[in-house]
């Protein structure tokens, strides 16, 4: 993989069907950002219906077609379809591909001093499997009856009797899961095998640790959902009844299913994936936050080892908490006690990591760069998201809160101003490495403050709407007395969503303008210590001119007696 290899490759091999982890990473990130934006647009349409029930959707109402809307007014089936696709797209096509496929692919091999991933062709295949999954999901908008409309959780029997879009959803999911599975194997092997000389496990940047634990979660949690998706496909296409009990009467018709199945089985298989999936969404984000935090506090992460142990413990525990999503299914006393206990236990390592990050600020020298602003926004927002999980994890307190907007607010605080802020921090932070140019920090600051205010206007009111008793997935809450009483809060939320949309405009402008027009960046514009800043910006095929050797830990900042306030990992000298 010498760099003169580049010149022999054609355009398609070099930029499209490339096996270079950086090109694949960029594709992942761009595709993921597209889906993130698309999923966000679906939500803005839903917010319109929630704020102004049965009003014609402005501007794009006419584009919704006749399956989702009637003369520009959203139909209940349209609302359900947008809801299901918003969840699916944001999680499986937006956030995970960006944090794992994008940042993981691009940054991780650079941070461990590797020339590429361990299996470059498998890496390319992961991307294309993801791409196919995305195309199938988008195509499902055009099938009769519209896309899947049974929620991103697709609970049978509803999903089994749903329109064709559900079949497309399942095929799409199979492709996406395959992509993640192949990617996870690649990540694990790369991190174990391809670390530079001297780069011991406890000298790994926290981001690499986060990717490592995440890869194990993907590897172990996804197969049950792949199996479950295929079982549901069989129910829908081959007349089996894995998830269908006998004696169903649907719309006055006796069901054709022979019965003998159990709808709860799907929920167990689904949440066995989907709870670790929550940590797949947040751990790489925590990794990015840790990198930016150490760099901009100009000091080592506080309790790095403790954080790593907490991370591994978190990953392990995430496999035995899944049924806390199912307290209301009629769960008995013993089993709910078990899952409530594991849920309380898993909150402890999360508190450890967050506390360590906040203590890192103590006696620091904080630079308020744009990536750092997003990190500083992330910390309190993630704290709110994490804390509000507590009442949901206690079965008794869960009774009035379960399946209400309180839940939506809780996990959106974790994923939206949480992970998505981490994604923005990562984008601003690594943009100069990828393009060789800086993003504009003025526009970046507008983007940050706009997003921070917007996010809180969107999700803050939802806690109160949820406490009031308003269920999720309601096309119109005003039909209930408790919903009507908090309709103003819902309207405020919707205004927040559109404001948040506007706040992304400076980012979009900044992103595309800076690719060619940004100020030129040096190889190490942030004075950072980890290995990716040792490579040229942008790094060539094969990454490093000479194989780097690592002499020290990942965050050697402000060491007394050192020439600068940072000592790169590859710099020889006093080891630490």
């Amino acid at each position: 993989m010498s760099s003169d290899h580049d010149h022999e490759m054609g355009f398609l091999r070099k930029y499209v069907f490339s096996t270079d982890h950086k090109v694949i990473g960029i594709w992942y990130a761009l595709t993921g950002l597209f889906f993130l934006f698309f999923g966000f647009c679906l939500m803005m349409i839903m917010r319109w219906q929630l704020a102004f029930p049965l009003e014609k959707v402005p501007v794009i109402g006419g584009l919704l077609g006749s399956t989702l809307a009637n003369d520009g007014v959203l139909l209940p089936e349209g609302y359900n379809a947008l809801g299901a696709m918003h969840g699916t797209i944001m999680i499986f096509l937006g956030v995970v591909p960006i944090v794992v496929g994008g940042f993981g692919n691009y940054v991780m091999p650079l941070q461990i001093g590797a020339p590429d991933m361990a299996f470059p062709k498998l890496n390319m295949f992961s991307y294309w499997a993801y791409f196919i999954g995305g195309v199938v999901m988008l195509a499902s908008f055009f099938v009769p009856g519209g896309p899947a409309n049974s929620g991103w959780t697709s609970y049978p029997p509803l999903s089994n009797i749903a329109t064709t879009g559900q079949t497309w959803w399942l095929f799409g999911m199979v492709a996406l899961i395959t992509s993640s599975l192949l990617g996870s194997i690649n990540f694990i092997v790369t991190i174990v095998q391809l670390r530079a000389e001297g780069l011991t496990m406890f000298r790994l940047p926290f981001f690499v640790w986060a990717q490592f634990v995440t890869a194990f979660l993907l590897l172990l949690a996804f197969p049950p959902l792949e199996a479950a998706s295929i079982l549901q496909l069989m129910d829908r296409l081959a007349g089996s009844s894995f998830f269908m009990p006998e004696g169903l009467v649907v719309s006055g018709e006796q069901s054709a299913y022979t019965g003998g199945g159990n709808p709860i089985l799907w929920q167990h298989l689904f949440w066995f994936l989907a709870h670790p999936e929550v940590y797949v969404l947040i751990l790489p984000g925590l990794g990015m936050v840790a990198e930016v935090l150490a760099n901009n506090t100009r000091k080592p992460l506080w309790g790095y080892r403790t954080m790593v142990y907490a991370l591994v413990f978190l990953g392990f525990m995430s496999f035995i908490v899944w049924a806390h999503h199912m307290f209301i299914t009629g769960m008995g006393v013993t089993i709910s006690a078990f899952f409530a206990t594991t849920t309380m236990i898993i909150s402890v390592p999360s508190v450890v990591i967050l506390t360590a990050m906040i203590i890192t600020l103590y006696r620091a020298s904080i630079r308020f760069t744009v990536p750092m602003l997003f990190v500083l926004g992330f910390l309190p927002m993630f704290a709110i998201g994490g804390l509000t999980g507590l009442p949901l994890g206690l079965p008794a307190a869960d009774i009035p809160l379960h399946d209400t907007y309180y839940v939506i607010a809780h996990f959106h605080y974790v994923v939206a101003p949480g992970t998505i802020f981490a994604i923005f921090a990562g984008l601003y932070y690594w943009f100069p490495k990828v393009t060789g140019r800086m993003m504009n920090s003025g526009l970046g600051k507008i983007h940050f403050f706009g997003s921070f205010i917007g996010m809180n206007i969107v999700f803050g009111p939802m806690f109160f709407v949820g406490l009031a008793g308003v269920s999720r997935r309601l096309f119109d809450q005003t039909g209930y007395a408790w919903g009507d009483a908090v309709q103003n809060w819902t309207i405020a939320s919707s205004y927040g969503a559109w404001f948040l949309g506007l706040a992304q405009i400076p980012f979009i402008i900044n992103f595309f303008m800076s690719i060619r027009g940004g100020a030129k960046a040096s190889d190490n514009p942030w004075d950072a210590t980890t290995l990716e800043w040792h490579a040229p910006s942008p790094p060539p095929h094969g990454n490093f001119a000479t194989v780097p050797v690592v002499y020290r830990g990942p965050y050697d900042y402000s060491t007394p007696g050192a020439a600068a306030d940072f000592s790169p990992q590859h710099a020889a000298g006093t080891e630490s």
Partner: protein, 299 residues
């Protein structure tokens, strides 16, 4: 500051565009069923609604305690966070101190969090859950009122045993829309006096046992004012129990809390919480045979 100025401009633009996009002020058409004739009792707002159940205050208490705990933690973290941002911002000639801060505070706060969570879990949540889930009066308990609830797309059906106190047999094969939504077996004499209603009537001060199931997809039987919520799962019969307070007499709403299809949002039933006398009177009234009786349904 320049950024502040640009932010203000952005805010004004946002405000202006909302007003361009927002619909003109007029009576908003609602998709919800017309309930103009029925006044719903209770107080509703941005916090937990009125509670008319005997057990509800314990749930509310747990929620209150957790939120106070969360607020204390958040304010503690937040204060330290803001202090650091102000105190340790980068200044010329100032360098970060890389030495590990010996912070006992973090260790103790983490232990504190763990202990507090254990207390919440073992001291409050588990006994309460056991009370709600396990202490359910038996099927033949004469002190309790038994109601069978059947969810369907998109309505709730309520069935009472009638004067003989025994439910007749029922099965999916007997289900007939309109005339026999709960699939009563007309050949079973116990079923003759069973009462099937689209309204949920309950007396106050008496334990109620609700047997939940569904005929098609998963629904969730949610009554916020009673602090109960339970999925209704086809193929399973799940009991829950509660008691309404004597002071809780009034008209309330039953909702579906689990996505069940297109009209999920309007799967609503009215709940009449009545004194025992009023309830008994309703039972007698509802138990009168319908005027037109369909002979075909006899077999």
């Amino acid at each position: 500051m320049r950024f502040t100025k640009m932010l203000c401009i952005l805010a004004v633009l946002a405000w202006a565009s909302f007003h361009l996009l927002a619909p003109p002020v007029q009576a908003q058409g609602s998709a919800a069923p017309d309930t103009s004739g029925v006044k719903i009792d209770g107080e509703y707002g941005p916090f937990l609604p009125t509670d008319i159940s005997e057990h509800g205050y314990k749930i509310d208490r747990v929620i209150d305690i957790v939120h106070v705990f969360m607020a204390v933690l958040f304010v503690g973290w937040g204060a330290f966070f803001v202090y650091c941002l102000v105190r340790f911002r980068q200044k010329p000639g100032h360098q970060a101190d890389p030495h590990e801060v010996k912070a006992k505070v973090s260790k103790w706060s983490e232990i504190g969090v763990a202990v507090f969570e254990a207390v919440l879990l073992i001291g409050f949540s588990m006994p309460l859950w056991a009370e709600v889930r396990a202490e359910i009066p038996a099927d033949d308990d004469p002190n309790a009122l038994h109601v069978k609830v059947l969810g369907e797309q998109f309505a709730w059906n309520f069935r009472y045993a009638g004067p003989d106190g025994i439910f007749g047999r029922s099965a999916a094969k007997f289900v007939k829309d309109g005339t026999n939504p709960m699939g009563l077996d007309r050949s079973d004499p116990h079923g003759d006096d069973d009462i099937v209603s689209g309204e949920f009537h309950i007396p106050t001060g008496k334990p109620i046992v609700v047997q939940l199931t569904s005929k098609d997809v998963i629904h969730s039987f949610s009554v916020p004012v009673l602090r109960i919520k339970q999925d209704t799962i086809p193929g399973m019969r799940i009991p829950i129990s509660f008691t309404a307070k004597k002071s809780g007499v009034g008209t309330y709403e039953v909702a579906c809390a689990q996505l069940c299809g297109n009209n999920h949002y309007s799967m609503r039933a009215l709940m009449y919480v009545q004194s025992q006398n009023d309830f008994d009177a309703w039972l007698i009234e509802a138990g009168k045979p319908p005027e037109e009786f369909d002979e075909d349904d006899l077999d």
